[in-house]
Every structure is written in structure tokens, then in C-alpha cells.
């Protein structure tokens, strides 16, 4: 949007059909050189289909495309396969979502780059090598001459993504299509990758089409945004304008659902919790003391937890924050006694957990339940939802069969599911519905503490907002205490009362969420917070 030159990429009236299924409905937008345009929408909104039609990757046997996609004035939709390949290789670069799957695991990085170059131009081996080293340096990989000799698995996720970006810009394309380029990466890595894309845009003048579900990321990084819902454009304009005055209902709703834009959404619920909590006695519902856990022995050992301590006051929400590998999951698994700690103690209501044997542990566990990250694997596909929700009641012999049936319906109602869902198998439900069912199953025994292990990270932003709403209201109705594990700092800021930041198995910082987030004292916390695309401006 900075320069008035003709558009690099112009999509006009694009329709895509899969059989009778109308997936993309009349989408139009433009990307000019040196600018970033974001396509925003939840899964199934057609954003990846649009990207695939721009790249000419739609299978002509299963899909039908109408409309026009012009790249530098040339109609892409009418190109032959050979011309498309040339365009894809040299003019349009693609950056995939999951870098782990996009590289050939059995070939060295250098060889994979060389393959791209050899297909497109005649040059000597040493010329190609110099070019590759230059590109690797350009994408910020240290010691390029070492990197070309490595295999993909020897690189971290962030480095793999840099390699892929390098491959995409290798032949100096005019346009980069990036499909959720950072959703598989940690926040701090996310920031560096997005910074790199910004630099490339500014230095090389490429146009970037950024596909994302993350509204706050899109707002911070792009000049224009296209908001998609159900294959149709809901809103199209400069990002500042779309975000400050969203005109469509859909964009406004999306806006409300993004945690980073609604940090104080649960302020009232939080202060109510605080008041109730101060009326309580001082014994925390959950206390963890000096947990140490080491995996492996000898030289290959890995210290997952290195003296972790924190406490969670009754009826409040405590967040456990950290990047992947920081020890969050190990901490949770140790608290639930799915792993045994090397040393340290876990207290539930002042009662030490490791003192229990198998039988009495079963009684203690009634009070300590878990909601899993991925609702697609946490429910047994063989049984109906009703049976899965009633299962804990049956196992602990709660009530008669009739009472359990009534309680199941009650629970379904409490998590906002219809009664007929009781007969459904998990595979027929959406992710949000499954997670609701998983929550119902976890609260069936009326536990005091619910451990939420990234309960929304596998879900769309709107579904996430609904699940968080549900969790907040369940908490106030049932007086639950939450241990909330997350890597998403916006959600933590919005949802939790207190927070513990973990880094490499050790506690970095701990305290009230608003204080820690306002004045992070430790460098690591500061780094974490600075990598979140915060938005200070809120809509009127």
C-alpha cells in the first residue's frame, strides 16, 4: 500500500468449487511489490485454497476455478503446467506451515538447495555454492558453510523455517506466499521469523501474501488485510482501518475473540475470584515444592525440571508459561503422578501426594483432573460421548445408573452441549464440541483442581474464546482451581490470575499476571513478552 505502482498480484472474482462444494466465493484483492497482505480466517474459511490456486496447485480433476488471478499482468489460471512450474520456481516463492514436513529428511540442506538451482539455471558448482551461502546468510543462519552440510533434523524448528524461507527467495521471486509460517514455532522464534520476512520485504521489495488465523499477528505485520469467512471476503482494507473500525459483523466478532485484543475481558470474574479467595484460609489448593526430574542417565541426560516450586490459591487460575522444552508438560505430568519426580513434593490441600500408595492415590485423583490439549485424541473413538462422560462416575460408583444418566445430561448442559450429543461418537463432533465433552468428563467427579494442558491451542480463535468463556463460568459456578498450561501469553494475560514462567526446567519469574506482564523483571520474561504482537489500541 506504500507505492501506487500496478499490483504484483491481482486476484479478482475468484471462485473455487470442489465438486458441488463452493469453497471460495468471489474473492478479490491485490498485493503490490514491497507490501504485505494478510489473508485471515479460521480453518475451512478457504484461505489455503486461495493460496493453492495462486500457486496453481489445485488438482484440476477435483476442483473447478473461475475468475482471474494475474501475476504481473499475466493470467495464472490459464497457464500450462510447464509455465506454471517456471512461475512457481522463479517468480513465486512458497513458505509452508510446518517446516518439519517440508524438507527432505534424508538429504543435506546444501543438496536440497542445489537441486532447486540446477533445475533453473546453468552455472558452475562453485557459483551455485556461493549463491546458496549468500542466501543462507541473508536469512540469518549462523555459519552457512556448516549448515549446508547438515540434515534437516539437526536444525531447530526456527532454523528449518529459515532454511525454507531461504529456499523460497533463492531465485529472487517477486512474491512470497507464506501459509501460517510461524504457527508451528515458539513465540520468541515466531518473532524472529516475522522480523526476517519484514526485512526481506523492505530490502528486496518482494510482495508477501501472509496466510494466518491470528488477527493480532496480521495487524502488526501487514499493510492490508483480507478477512475471510466461509470462502467470502468479509472485510478488505488497510490493516489500521480494518482493525480500528471493523465494519462487518464477522470482523467485529473475530475482534472480540482474539485474546490479545481483549486483555481485560474477564476482569470482573477475576476480581470476584480474588475477593472469594481472600475470604479463604491460607492453605493453597495445590503446592509444588522443589520438583526435580531428570530423563536419561550419564552424558545424555536431560534435566526437565530443576527445582520447580509454585503454589495455587484455592478458586484461582494459575498459569504455567514457557516455550516448548521448558518443562511445563513434565511439571504437569509429575503433579498428576503420570511421571515420578526424582525429588521434591506435590501437596494437594496440604496433603502430600507421593505419600499415597496405589489405592489411596485413586481417591486423591478424584480431586485432580486433566483436560488435554488435543480433543481429537483425548476421547476414545469407540464409545459415545454420553458413555465417556459417565465413565468416571461409573468407575467411582457414583449414584445409580439412572442418577448417572441424569448427571450426564446435567454435565452436557453445563458445558453447552445439546442432549442428543450424548449418543454421538467423538469422531462426528467438531473440535470445540469434543473439547466441551472432555471438560464435562473432567468435571464429572467434581474435582477441586482442574489441570488445563493447552486446552485451546488446537482450536480456532472463535472456538477458543467460547471454551475460555465456558471455563471461566464453570470456575465461578463450581469453585474450581485451575492450573493452566499455555504458551500463548495473550490468553494467559486474559485468563489467569497468577503466573509462573518456566525456562529450561527452572522457574524464572512468578507472581500476579498483571504485575509480571506489566513489569517483567527477568530478561527471559522480557524477551517472551516482547515477542508477542501486542496491540495497545482497542476499538471504540
Amino acid at each position: 500500500m506504500t507505492t501506487p505502482q500496478p499490483a504484483l498480484l491481482a486476484v479478482a472474482g475468484l471462485h473455487v468449487f470442489y465438486g458441488d462444494h463452493h469453497v471460495v466465493k468471489g474473492v478479490s484483492f491485490e498485493v503490490s511489490a514491497g507490501s504485505t497482505v494478510s489473508l485471515i480466517g479460521r480453518s475451512g474459511s478457504g484461505k489455503s485454497t486461495i493460496a493453492n490456486s495462486i500457486l496453481g496447485l489445485l488438482d484440476p480433476h477435483t476442483s473447478r476455478v473461475d475468475g482471474s488471478v494475474r501475476f504481473r499482468g499475466e493470467e495464472i489460471l490459464r497457464l500450462r503446467a510447464r509455465e506454471l512450474r517456471r512461475l512457481r520456481g522463479t517468480e513465486i516463492g512458497f513458505i509452508p506451515q510446518d517446516p518439519g514436513n517440508a524438507l527432505n529428511p534424508v538429504r543435506r540442506i546444501g543438496a536440497q538447495f542445489d537441486e532447486v538451482l540446477r533445475q533453473s539455471q546453468r552455472s558452475t558448482r562453485s557459483e551455485r555454492r556461493d549463491l546458496i551461502l549468500n542466501v543462507l546468510e541473508r536469512v540469518g543462519l549462523p555459519e552457512p558453510s556448516r549448515v549446508i552440510r547438515l540434515y534437516p533434523h539437526e536444525l531447530s524448528g526456527g532454523m528449518q523455517q529459515r532454511v525454507l524461507i531461504g529456499m523460497a527467495i533463492l531465485l529472487n521471486p517477486g512474491l512470497l506466499v507464506a501459509d501460517e509460517p510461524t504457527s508451528a514455532l515458539d513465540v520468541t522464534v515466531q518473532k524472529t521469523i516475522l522480523d526476517l520476512l519484514d526485512d526481506l520485504r523492505n530490502d528486496l521489495g518482494v510482495g508477501i501474501l501472509l496466510i494466518t488465523h491470528d488477527l493480532s499477528l496480521a495487524a502488526a505485520r501487514s499493510d492490508a488485510v483480507v478477512v475471510l469467512n466461509d470462502g467470502a471476503v468479509q472485510e478488505y482494507g488497510s490493516s489500521a482501518q480494518v482493525l480500528s473500525e471493523p465494519r462487518s459483523d464477522y470482523a467485529r466478532r473475530l475482534y472480540r475473540d482474539v485474546p490479545g485484543l481483549q486483555l481485560d475481558k474477564y476482569r470482573e470474574a477475576k476480581s470476584a475470584r480474588q475477593q472469594r479467595n481472600t475470604a479463604n484460609d491460607g492453605v493453597p489448593a495445590l503446592r509444588v515444592q522443589d520438583l526435580v526430574k531428570t530423563f536419561g542417565r550419564g552424558r545424555t541426560n536431560h534435566v526437565a525440571l530443576d527445582g520447580v516450586s509454585f503454589a495455587v490459591a484455592r478458586g484461582t487460575t494459575h498459569a504455567l508459561v514457557g516455550e516448548s522444552g521448558s518443562g511445563k508438560s513434565t511439571a504437569v505430568r509429575t503433579i498428576l503422578r503420570l511421571e515420578r519426580q526424582d525429588s521434591g513434593k506435590v501437596f494437594l490441600d496440604g496433603d502430600e501426594l507421593s505419600s499415597h500408595d496405589h489405592t489411596s492415590l485413586r481417591e486423591v485423583r478424584r480431586n485432580l483432573q486433566l483436560v488435554y490439549q488435543n480433543p481429537f485424541t483425548s476421547l476414545d473413538p469407540q464409545y459415545s460421548i454420553g458413555s465417556l462422560i459417565a465413565e468416571p462416575l461409573r468407575l467411582y460408583g457414583v449414584g445409580s445408573a439412572q442418577q448417572r444418566k441424569e448427571r450426564t445430561l446435567e454435565l452436557l448442559h453445563a458445558v453447552g452441549l445439546e442432549e442428543r450429543v450424548a449418543q454421538a461418537k467423538p469422531t462426528t463432533l467438531s473440535g470445540g464440541q469434543r473439547q466441551r465433552a472432555a471438560i464435562a468428563r473432567a468435571v464429572a467427579l467434581q474435582p477441586e483442581i482442574l489441570v488445563l494442558d493447552e486446552p485451546t491451542s488446537a482450536l480456532d480463535v472463535s472456538v477458543q474464546a467460547q471454551i475460555l468463556d465456558l471455563l471461566v463460568s464453570l470456575q465461578s459456578d463450581l469453585g474450581l482451581t485451575y492450573l493452566f498450561v499455555s504458551h500463548d501469553l495473550s490468553v494467559v494475560r486474559q485468563f489467569a490470575d497468577t503466573v509462573t514462567v518456566l525456562h529450561q526446567g527452572a522457574v524464572v519469574e512468578s507472581g500476579r499476571v498483571d504485575e509480571v506482564f506489566a513489569n517483567p523483571e527477568q530478561p527471559h520474561t522480557q524477551k517472551l513478552l516482547s515477542s508477542v504482537p501486542w496491540l495497545s489500541t482497542a476499538p471504540a
Binding site: 470442489y18 465438486g19 458441488d20 462444494h21 469453497v23 480453518s43 475451512g44 489455503s48 485454497t49 480433476h61 477435483t62 506451515q97 510446518d98 501460517e180 504457527s183 508451528a184 498428576l336 503420570l338 485413586r362 485423583r365 478424584r366 483432573q369 486433566l370 488435554y372 488435543n374 481429537f376 485424541t377 483425548s378 476421547l379 476414545d380 473413538p381 469407540q382 465413565e391 468416571p392 468407575l395 467411582y396 473440535g431 472432555a438 468428563r441 473432567a442 464429572a444 467427579l445 488446537a458 482450536l459 480456532d460
Partner: protein, 288 residues
Amino acid sequence: MTTEALGHSKAQPSAPATPNRSVRVVAGNATLWLSTAVLLTIALWSVAPSWFTDDDPYTGITTDRLQPPSAEHLLGTDQIGRDLLTRIVYGASASVTSAIIAVAIALLAGSLIGLLSGFIGSWVDPALSRVVDVLLAIPGFLLAIITVSALGFATVNVAIATGVSAVAVFARLMRSEVMRVKHLSFIESSYLIGGTKPYVLIRHILPNAYRSVFHLAVLQFGLAIIVISGLAFLGYGDPPPSSEWGLLVADGKEYMKRYPWLVFAPAGVIAVTVLSLYRISRIFGERA
């Protein structure tokens, strides 16, 4: 990512039926129906052979010996004048029963070994796995011959031997399925809501693991028929006048040069049965 992937698969309906493809679909269904019909017929042969033929499988009419196929004797007659089709129909019972016994032994013993091995782990797994390795190291047919030699020559023993030779395959598959399933989060979740180990094993692991084992069982049924016929051919089964299919082939081979139907008819029945079983097992394979 998961939701994304699901969204895509939902968005992709089945491809438009090109002529080539629809031909293949119809042909695929035709072979499926044909296979089902074949297996039903053979099941009926083994339950009620007298519905299909009025002749006696054991006493021949000497004047009618070595007749070529005709309207009266559809598959001809053998060297002492017995109707070959009647022999085959009456032989079905022996072949099918033996195959059922064999598969049942292999399925039960193999599944149990695999289940314990995969579920308990610790020292049980390596111990049982080594036993399975030893069984796998001996060629199946040889193992069957050794077993039947030890038990004595009879069709029932042939069935047991065939079953024993297939135990290892089931154990291997069951073990790997159990190991795959037991690390899924819904299994862990079942412990957290108060499930005991035996409970989780029976209610959650077994139902999610049995499917591909069941697929293997159908496949092994076909294999068992081949192995049992082979053992009968070599004379390890019941002696004549039993009409087990492998024995019919063995009897016929003496006259093969001039009266080829005596070999090809029973051999063809074995082949068609096994092929039908493989076709049926493919449905389970697709669903698993």
C-alpha cells in the same frame, strides 16, 4: 494444524466419477459380491453337504470310473467311480473346520501373547518377544509339519499344527497395535478418571487394537486353508476315504496326465476359496 487438516479433508468431496473410475468401482463391487457368494456356498457345503448332491461320497460305481465331466457328473468321476463334485462338497466340512480351528488357536494364543507383551512391558515383553522370534525363525510350513508329526497324523492335528505355526504373526501384530494405542492420550485419560489397568486394557485398548488383528485373521483363514490342504496332500491328515481337498489333489495326481480334472477341480476350489477370502479381507483392511 489438526483442525486445518480436517477442514481440508471435509472440503474435498469424492472426485467426479470418470468412466474409467466407475468401471473400476462396479468391477470392484462385482468381485466383492462374487466372493461373498463363493464363501456362502462353501459354508453351506460344509454345514449341509446333502443339500447339494444325492450321491454318496464314499462308495463308487465301478462302471462309471474316470468319467469326464458331463451333465450327470459335473466334474467327472474318480478312479473308483465316485462323483468328484460330491467328494469336494463333502470335503468342504473338513477343510473349513480345520481352518477355523487353526485360525482360532492362532488368534487367541497370538493375541494373548501380544496383548500381555505390549501392555505389561518390563521383563514380560522381551521374554515373550524372544519366544515369538524363535517361532518366526522356523518356516511356518516346516513348523506345522514338525507339530503334526509330534501329535500324530489326523486332520484335527493338522489344524492345531497350522494354528501353532501362525501364533507368532498374530502376537507380533497385536503387540505393535497395543503399543500404538497405549500411548494415545485417551488411554492415559482413562487412568486419571479412575480406571484400573485391567479395566483400561479391556475397555479401551482392546477395542482400539483388535481391528487390524481381525483383518489379519481373515487373511490367515485363507492361508490356513492352503497350509492344511498342503499337509493333507502330503498325507499328514486323515487317510482316505476322507475327502479333504488337499487329499483329493493328491489322489488325482496319479491320473493327472489323462484325467486332469481330478487335480484341477479340487485345486481350483481351493484357489477360488482363498482368493475370495482375500477379497473379503480387503474390506476390513480398508476400514482398519
